[in-house]
Structures are given as structure tokens and as C-alpha cells.
């Protein structure tokens, strides 16, 4: 038994140690073992103690040698470390984003069972829910809890100071319970807080508590004015908590007015629910399908009855993360490719260096160093190179992540959470180990397999090196292939960006400044609100330098939408359905002229339409007119808003305007209908102001005009229309920018790789080239043969890469706009660039070869 343990323990020592002393140790053990039990036990204990120490010793020694050789060749070390740093840095940065956005859980209890519940309309896609729908959904057996919420921008007054604009989330009963989160201090809403006439209460976010109240522990019980009403703080939420997004500063209980309990068509809220025990998502969905059918049957005035209306449940996590997941997977695979290229490159460099170090290593072998020991030393060297590269890469990643927000990545949810944390460090450490194995072990094993005798005899140009050259060529080919794939990928994204910017969105975004105004509660009368916006727009219009001004309920290109249900006179769908839903906007002043939306037929809104009591009118978009009135004239047609009563007034269409892509150039236009804001009691509007002056001047003009009307009215959300336009394709730009960056790095690495292989093969062949020159070979033919060699390597690599690129392009389709995987410009461009770079990289070594002096080369022996 002891013998076996001893044998086993012996195997735990470093290999070269075993080779040197294993047999003797065993022999001594047998001799000693005769002394009895305690001696044997002591021998076993000694083995256990020594094995790790021996490894550590060997590692220290190898590391010393590694550092010495790294210092001795600083240029080489720098190239290797920077190469690895680029590969690892890109991976760490993208992984940290990936982790923050996709992998990390939402800050709710058992978040996997939370679902988002939405309406589905065949025409307009997902929609919000109304209060009656919320009350119906609450009854569903599929959910153990369901709450509706909406985000509001409110004025928050702290003492006597001027009010601050903050974001509030108004939630119905049980919101915090169903999210499964307890407050940090205090208690969350009780059922009675949702009763009309109860005391107004609010829950603070941790961030606002820290920022505005200095983390005052006595905050609970204090009162603040919000929109002119007093609210009492009852709780502070934990630091990590956010809902529905990070912008939310406070939560207030929804008190549902009776009026809203009856308006089934007012789809204003989002719904979140927790699946009931034993119910999975498909089960919940089938429950919702039944409910949707029942609603269609019970309320024919509100829902179509042809299956074009439905209810949908989806995992809250997926809804939050949205479509960014496939984009991030794409970026992560690209950085993986880059790391692979970096590894190939470093392996190549190490192979080249090992072959020039062959003599040194052979001498050490001859002096008694064991093969296993040399191998260990080479692997230790790669490990330290990888660690150095990893550290530098982490530095690059920290800089990259800190600046990711600048890259127009506003469209990626949760990006602000990305940070180089312990998880990223762990993954990076694994990458470091992986890379050191990838690029270190191959060269090390290649070296050791070589016949030491031969390398000693043949000096630097060993025959054994032939195999090395072949391996290195293989590596270069794969490197070129990988780089081609990456370039094709980034080329495709660039092309799709180009296509996007070429799309006509139907509106002119240049020179337009926007600002939001949400009228305070004191504007209680509809006429006061109408008057305010009319006078504001007129005031702005009369200022010098401002060429047009208007206002709209929901700005285009912001991602926000609003749709209302209505029925069109003499229009029934094939299924007999009268009620339809389309994008609906309320406008004031010269909205259309300000955004350059052309009037195609009829007239625009005039001042008369701007009066509360004017006859009801509407303007529709071209595609709206086409959808409902085919080829006949839309002007003069009538429609009415959906309502349970039949006496809602008829609305006449007075004009037709051009279509706009209101979600961004990548989304098809939808039919639009515009009403004069004056007739629909709007308290929140967005101003649009066109001017040739700089935005700053326009902003102060807006503030001044608002101040003239009401010194206490806040203006917020000031941005130019061009910024919204840029953000609307922000994720395309983000993907394209990062892929192009990665592609460029890949190109640089690949060219270094080709150059390295060619230059090294010239050095190896100096003697041979010298002989050929001495025998009368033309310099031009030598030049040609070397460039030709580079060309062959490049062709194979590029060919393979182009095929791979087509596959990658196909899998990228969802990330592209109007660009196929066989796009000739992206493919051709990548191929051309790589050919050019490859030829350039072999041109310089080839030129050097033609300058070899035969006499010197022959003397080199």
C-alpha cells in the first residue's frame, strides 16, 4: 500500500525531477522502508511536503530565465505583449458589456418568473394596456400578481428652491410585492395608498436619496411637493434596484380615476406580472389567448374580432435586453476571432524566434538540461508574456468601457452597468491561460521534437526547420483567412450604415432644436393649456432668426409612439371590423413646415383649427390616405374616434402630408394621422424650432419665451433633432464602429504575420539566395519568386476567408439593413484590401532579398 502511495506521489513532482531522481528515490525508499512503519510514514509526509515546493522552485527559476530573455529582446517582447493586449483587451471590454447587458440578472426576486404583458395589434405591433384591460388581466389565473405602471416626468420641489425635473414611475397595487424586492428603509405601498383621497406617498430611489438628501436616515416621513401636491416619503429602495429603468427617481402609487376605469381605448400603461406557481410561459400565453378572444367578443367596439388582436407574455429579461443580444453575440464572436488571430500571430513570432534560438537551446540541452525542462521554460515564458499582455489588455479594456457611452451606444439597455469587475477579471484570467496555451505550447512542442544534434551541426539554417516553415505558413494562411472574415463582417456593417444614411426619412432634421414642456397642474383648464402653447409658438415664430416653430405630442425618431383607435366613415375591413388603430399625433403651429414634411394635398392646420371650439379636422399621411381611401381623394373624408357612444363628432380630413419614418430610417413608414392639439387637451408637448442660429441661441430664445408666459414653468429634454436622428441608428453605428475597429486590428496583425514569415524565410535562405545569385540568377526572378510565395499564401487565406465571410454575413442578416451576405462591395473590398496588404508585406522582404551580396552571404557560414 505504502509503495503504491509513494509511486503516486512521485508522479506529482516536476517531470524533469522525476527523470533525474525518480529511480533513486524509489530505491532509497525500499531500503529505508525496512526500518518500519514510522519511517515509511515519514517518507510519505516528506514527499507530500516537497512536491509543491519543487514545482514552485522550478517555476521561479523558469520565470527568472523568462524575464531575462524578455528583457534581452525588448522589441520582440513589446510586439508580443501588445498583440496579446489587443486581443485580450477587446475581449474583456466586449465581455463586460455582454455580461452587464445579457448575463446579469435584473434586480428582482426570482426574476426568471417575471413577464411583461403587452397587447398585440396586427397593424401596429406591441401596444400598452388600458386600465380596464389591466383589471381584466389581474383576474387571470396565469399570474400570481400583475401591476400596470407608467413613467412620468414631474416637477419635484425641495423646500423653496426651484423645482427639479425628475422621472417618476406610477405603479398600480402590488408592484413592489410582485417584483419581490423589499425596501432599504421603510415600507412600500399599502393597498390603501391606491384609494382616492388617501394621503399622497412616495418611495425614493437610492440614487436620489444619496444625491439630493445626503443619505439622510431620517428621510422617511418628510414631505415634498410634486406637481403642486404634497407627498410623504415612506421608503427608500436598495442601491441595486431599478424599475422600469435606471432613470426612475421615485415611485408613486397609482390612484385610478373613475374616468379611466371606463376608457378601454386609452392604452397608456405597461404591465408586468409574476407567473403563478406551476404555470410556465407557454401556459400563461394560452391563458392570455383565451382572454383576448373573450375581450374581442365582449367589446366589439374596442377590439377587432378577426384574430388580429391578441395579448402576449414575454420574459421581462428578454424584453429589457431587447434585440441587443444578437448584436452583442456578434461583437463577442468578432473579438474572439481577433484573439485567435493574435494567438496565431504570437505563435508564429515564437516559432520564428525559437528557430533562431535553436543553438542556444541546443547548447543547454548538451549541457544537461532535460527536454522536459526546456519545454517547461518555454511554456513559462509564454505564460508571462500572456500575463503581461493580459494586464495591458485590461488597461485598454477599462479605457474602452469607460468610453463606450461616447460611441453612440445609447440604444443598448443596461450598458451603463458595464464595468471591469471581478467576473470580467475572472474571464480575462481564463483567457490569459487559454492564450498562453494556444500560442505557447505549439512552438514549445515543435522545438522539443527537433533533433538537437542536427540543430547543433547545421547552425541556424537547419533542415529540421523546414517543418517549422511549413507550420508557420499554415498559421499565416489561417490568420489571413480569419482577418478576411472579420473584414467582410465589418464591411457589411459599413455598407448597411451607408444604406441607412441614404434613406429619406421624410423629414429634415438639420437646424431644428427641440424641447419638452409639461404644463404644471395649475393649468387645469383646457383653454389655459391651448392658450399657453399657441402663444409660445407664436412668440417664438416672431423672433428674428427663427424661421419656423411648432409643437407635437410625440417627437419622431425618439422611439416613442402613440396610437389611438378610430373608425373611418364607410370603411369596414373585409371582416366587418370598423375600429382601427394608427399612429396618432397632436400638433400646434407650423409643425410640418418646421420639420420639412411636405403638404401633398389640401391645406395645413390654421389658426382657426387652433381654437377649442373649431370644427374637428385632421391631416393624414400619404400611406394613411392610400390605406383607407385607395386612389380616391382623401381630403373631405370623415372619421371619428372610437368610443362606446355613437355621438362622438365626425372629423374631416383637410390635408395630406408626406410619410415619415418616425422610428428611424431602418423602420418602414407607418400611416399617420395628425389632429390639432388645441382640440384634444394636451398638457405635454415637444417644441420644434427651426433656425439658422446656433442651437445655444435658440435654446435661450425658448427659455425666454417660456419665461415671458410663466416664469415658473420648467423646460427640459433640450436636444437637436439631428441628435435624435443620429441616436435612432445608434446601434447600427455602434456595431459598425466596433467591428471596423476590430477588423482594422485584425488587418494590422495579419500583415505583421505575413511580414514576419516572409522576412524570416529570407533570413533563413540568405545563403541559398547568395548561391543562386552567384550562379547567375536574375535578381528580378528572385524578387518575383518571393512575392509570388506571399501571393500564394494570401490567395489561399483570402479564398478560405471569403467563403467564411459569406457564412458569417448570412448569420449577420438581422444586424444589417438592406445588405445581403454576397454584397459585392463588402466582399470585394475585403479581398482587395487583404491582397494589397499581403503583397505589401512581402514586398519589403523581397526587396531585401534582391540586395543580398552573394560574397557576404557565402562567407556567412
Amino acid at each position: 500500500m505504502f509503495n503504491r502511495i509513494f509511486q503516486f506521489l512521485l508522479k506529482l513532482f516536476p517531470k524533469d525531477f522525476q527523470e533525474a531522481h525518480g529511480r533513486e528515490m524509489q530505491q532509497v525508499y525500499y531500503l529505508q522502508a525496512r526500518d518500519g512503519f514510522t519511517t515509511r510514514l515519514r517518507a510519505i509526509a516528506g514527499m507530500i511536503r516537497s512536491a509543491p515546493a519543487e514545482h514552485w522552485d522550478a517555476f521561479k527559476q523558469d520565470s527568472r530565465l523568462a524575464f531575462r530573455s524578455m528583457r534581452g529582446n525588448p522589441g520582440f517582447t513589446a510586439v508580443v505583449v501588445v498583440t496579446i493586449a489587443l486581443g485580450i483587451g477587446a475581449n474583456a471590454a466586449i465581455f463586460s458589456v455582454f455580461d452587464a447587458v445579457l448575463l446579469r440578472q435584473l434586480p428582482y426576486g426570482d426574476e426568471g418568473r417575471l413577464v411583461s404583458v403587452r397587447l398585440v395589434w396586427q397593424d401596429t405591433g406591441f401596444g400598452s394596456v388600458s386600465i380596464p384591460e389591466y383589471l381584466d388581466l389581474r383576474e387571470s389565473r396565469a399570474f400570481s400578481g400583475l401591476s400596470a405602471y407608467q413613467s412620468l416626468n414631474v416637477n419635484f420641489a425641495l423646500g423653496e428652491g426651484s423645482p427639479e425635473r425628475i422621472t417618476a414611475c406610477e405603479g398600480t397595487e402590488g408592484l413592489f410585492d410582485l417584483l419581490g424586492v423589499a425596501p432599504f428603509i421603510g415600507r412600500t405601498f399599502a393597498p390603501e395608498n391606491h384609494q382616492a383621497g388617501s394621503n399622497q406617498v412616495l418611495v425614493l430611489s437610492y440614487g436620489l436619496w444619496q444625491r439630493r438628501f445626503g443619505a439622510d436616515p431620517g428621510i422617511v416621513g418628510r414631505s415634498f411637493r410634486i406637481e403642486g401636491r404634497d407627498y410623504t416619503v415612506i421608503a427608500v429602495m436598495p442601491r441595486d434596484f431599478y424599475f422600469p429603468d435606471k432613470d426612475t427617481d421615485i415611485w408613486i402609487p397609482a390612484v385610478i380615476p373613475l374616468r379611466e376605469r371606463q376608457s378601454r381605448g386609452a392604452h397608456t400603461r405597461s404591465a408586468v406580472a409574476r407567473l403563478a406557481p406551476g404555470i410556465d410561459l407557454p401556459r400563461a400565453q394560452s391563458e392570455l389567448d383565451v382572454l383576448a378572444k373573450r375581450l374581442s367578443a365582449d367589446y366589439p367596439a374596442d377590439y377587432p374580432n378577426d384574430g388580429s388582436f391578441g395579448l402576449a407574455a414575454a420574459s421581462l429579461h428578454e424584453v429589457t435586453v431587447g434585440e441587443s443580444s444578437s448584436r452583442l453575440v456578434l461583437l463577442l464572436s468578432a473579438t474572439g476571432f481577433l484573439l485567435l488571430i493574435a494567438c496565431v500571430n504570437v505563435a508564429n513570432l515564437l516559432l520564428a524566434r525559437n528557430s533562431s534560438r535553436q543553438r542556444e537551446l541546443a547548447v543547454r540541452t548538451a549541457l544537461g538540461a532535460r527536454n522536459s525542462r526546456l519545454k517547461r521554460q518555454l511554456v513559462t515564458e509564454s505564460l508571462w508574456l500572456a500575463i503581461a499582455g493580459g494586464l495591458l489588455g485590461l488597461g485598454l479594456a477599462v479605457i474602452g468601457v469607460a468610453n463606450a457611452h461616447v460611441l453612440g451606444a445609447a440604444q443598448i439597455p443596461r450598458l451603463e452597468d458595464a464595468a471591469i469587475d471581478l467576473r470580467v477579471l475572472g474571464v480575462t484570467a481564463m483567457l490569459v491561460l487559454l492564450t498562453s496555451v494556444l500560442f505557447g505550447v505549439l512552438p514549445a512542442s515543435r522545438f522539443v521534437r527537433q533533433d538537437v544534434n542536427k540543430s547543433l551541426r547545421s547552425g541556424t539554417r537547419g533542415t529540421a526547420d523546414r517543418v517549422g516553415v511549413r507550420t508557420r505558413r499554415l498559421l499565416v494562411v489561417s490568420e489571413i483567412a480569419l482577418a478576411t472574415v472579420l473584414l467582410v463582417g465589418s464591411g457589411l456593417t459599413l455598407r448597411s450604415l451607408q444604406r441607412l444614411t441614404a434613406v429619406d426619412p421624410g423629414l429634415e432634421t438639420d437646424k431644428v432644436v427641440t424641447a419638452r414642456i409639461s404644463l404644471a397642474a395649475r393649468y387645469s383648464e383646457a383653454s389655459q393649456r391651448v392658450d399657453f402653447f399657441n402663444r409660445l409658438v407664436d412668440g417664438l415664430r416672431n423672433r428674428p432668426g427663427i424661421t419656423a416653430a411648432g409643437a407635437i405630442s410625440v417627437l419622431p425618431l425618439t422611439g416613442d409612439t402613440e396610437d389611438w383607435a378610430f373608425s373611418v366613415e364607410n370603411f369596414l375591413k373585409a371582416n366587418g371590423r370598423a375600429v382601427v388603430t394608427e399612429q396618432t399625433r397632436f400638433v400646434t403651429g407650423e409643425y410640418f413646415r418646421t420639420l420639412g414634411i411636405p403638404l401633398k394635398e389640401g391645406r395645413g392646420f390654421d389658426h382657426f383649427d387652433g381654437r377649442v371650439d373649431a370644427p374637428r379636422v385632421a391631416i393624414v399621411s400619404e400611406s394613411f390616405a392610400k390605406k383607407y381611401w385607395k386612389d380616391s381623394d382623401a381630403v373631405g373624408k370623415r372619421l371619428r374616434l372610437a368610443s362606446r357612444r355613437d355621438d362622438s363628432p365626425w372629423i374631416s380630413v383637410v390635408g395630406v402630408v408626406g410619410d415619415i419614418r418616425h422610428l428611424g430610417p431602418h423602420v418602414e413608414q407607418q400611416p399617420f394621422i395628425y389632429y390639432p392639439a388645441a382640440q384634444y387637451n394636451q398638457s405635454r408637448m415637444a417644441l420644434v424650432v427651426r433656425s439658422d442660429s446656433v442651437p445655444g441661441t435658440v435654446v435661450s430664445a425658448i427659455r425666454e419665451e417660456v419665461g415671458k408666459l410663466d416664469a415658473e414653468q420648467a423646460v427640459f429634454g433640450i436636444r437637436t433633432m439631428a441628435e435624435y436622428a443620429s441616436d435612432s441608428i445608434g446601434h447600427y453605428r455602434f456595431t459598425s464602429l466596433i467591428l471596423t475597429f476590430i477588423g482594422t486590428l485584425a488587418l494590422v496583425l495579419a500583415s505583421v504575420g505575413i511580414y514576419g514569415v516572409m522576412a524570416h524565410s529570407i533570413t533563413q535562405r540568405t545563403h541559398e539566395i547568395g548561391v543562386r545569385l552567384a550562379l547567375g540568377a536574375m535578381r528580378s526572378s528572385i524578387f518575383g519568386s518571393i512575392v509570388g510565395q506571399g501571393f500564394v499564401l494570401a490567395s489561399i487565406g483570402i479564398g478560405l476567408g471569403a467563403i467564411g465571410g459569406i457564412f458569417v454575413g448570412r448569420s449577420m442578416q438581422t444586424q444589417l439593413f438592406d445588405v445581403g451576405p454576397l454584397d459585392p462591395i463588402a466582399l470585394g473590398g475585403a479581398v482587395a484590401v487583404l491582397f494589397a496588404i499581403s503583397l505589401l508585406a512581402s514586398y519589403f522582404p523581397a526587396r531585401r532579398a534582391t540586395r543580398i551580396d552573394p560574397a557576404t552571404a557565402l562567407r556567412m557560414e
Binding site: L9, F17, A20, H21, R23, E24, M25, Q26, Q27, V28, Y29, L31, Q32, T39, R42, A43, I44, A45, G46, M47, I48, R49, S50, A51, A53, E54, D57, L367
Partner: protein, 116 residues
């Protein structure tokens, strides 16, 4: 390769015992263990797991080397390796011993130890 003093490892007590045991002639591993144990009255007990890392270190520092001379083939076991003290090893052992002597002298001067 020229070795400098830097390359001489820190000599621990067990290492010194091994060097001392080789002072009066080449020995193989088992003999070293026996000799050290006998000389110290069993106070220093080496085993293969502790001895061979010491030997590896002494070999690396060239304080000992494998002996070319082998004893009479009649009593020799060919699997055994014999170790011999190098000049460098002799110097290193002497230096360590005189360092220890100085320490002992200091201890005596401070009356930590009664003169024998």
C-alpha cells in the same frame, strides 16, 4: 558558464548536513541518510522526499556533482548514483560553518550558553 556568489542558494541546516556527510568521501543517497541520522543521533531524519530536492538544489548550484568513480564493482549496485563534494561545495560548507561558529561565539559572549 561562470557562476557568481549570487547563484549559491541559501544553505539550510539539512543541506549543510548533506554537505558534511560527503566531506569524507562520495556516497549514494541511502548512505547519506544513514550517515546524517547516525551522526546526529537520529535528530535529523531525511527521507527520499526531503533528500532529493536538497540534492537537486546542490547539483544546480554545483556544490556537489555526480561522481565518475564507482566503488569496486563487487559491492556496487549500478542503479546507485554517487555524489561527491565539489571545491565550490567545500568552500560553501566551510563558509556556512564559520558563519555558524561566529553566531555561536556571539551567543557565548552574551552568556546565552555556558562555555563547554
Amino acid at each position: 558558464m561562470v557562476r557568481t556568489n549570487e547563484d549559491i542558494p541559501h544553505i539550510t541546516l539539512p543541506m549543510l548536513h548533506v554537505l558534511i556527510s560527503l566531506a569524507d568521501g562520495d556516497k549514494h543517497g541511502y548512505a547519506i541518510i544513514k550517515e546524517v541520522s547516525a551522526r546526529t543521533n537520529g535528530k535529523v531524519l531525511l527521507s527520499p522526499g526531503t533528500l532529493y530536492p536538497i540534492i537537486r538544489r546542490l547539483l544546480d548550484a554545483s556544490l556537489i556533482e555526480e561522481s565518475d568513480e564507482r566503488p569496486d564493482p563487487y559491492i556496487d549496485d549500478e542503479r546507485r548514483r554517487y555524489y561527491t563534494l565539489t571545491k565550490r561545495g567545500t568552500r560553501a560548507a566551510a563558509a556556512e560553518i564559520s558563519r555558524l561558529e561566529e553566531v555561536v561565539a556571539m551567543g557565548r559572549a552574551k552568556k546565552l550558553l555556558k562555555p563547554s
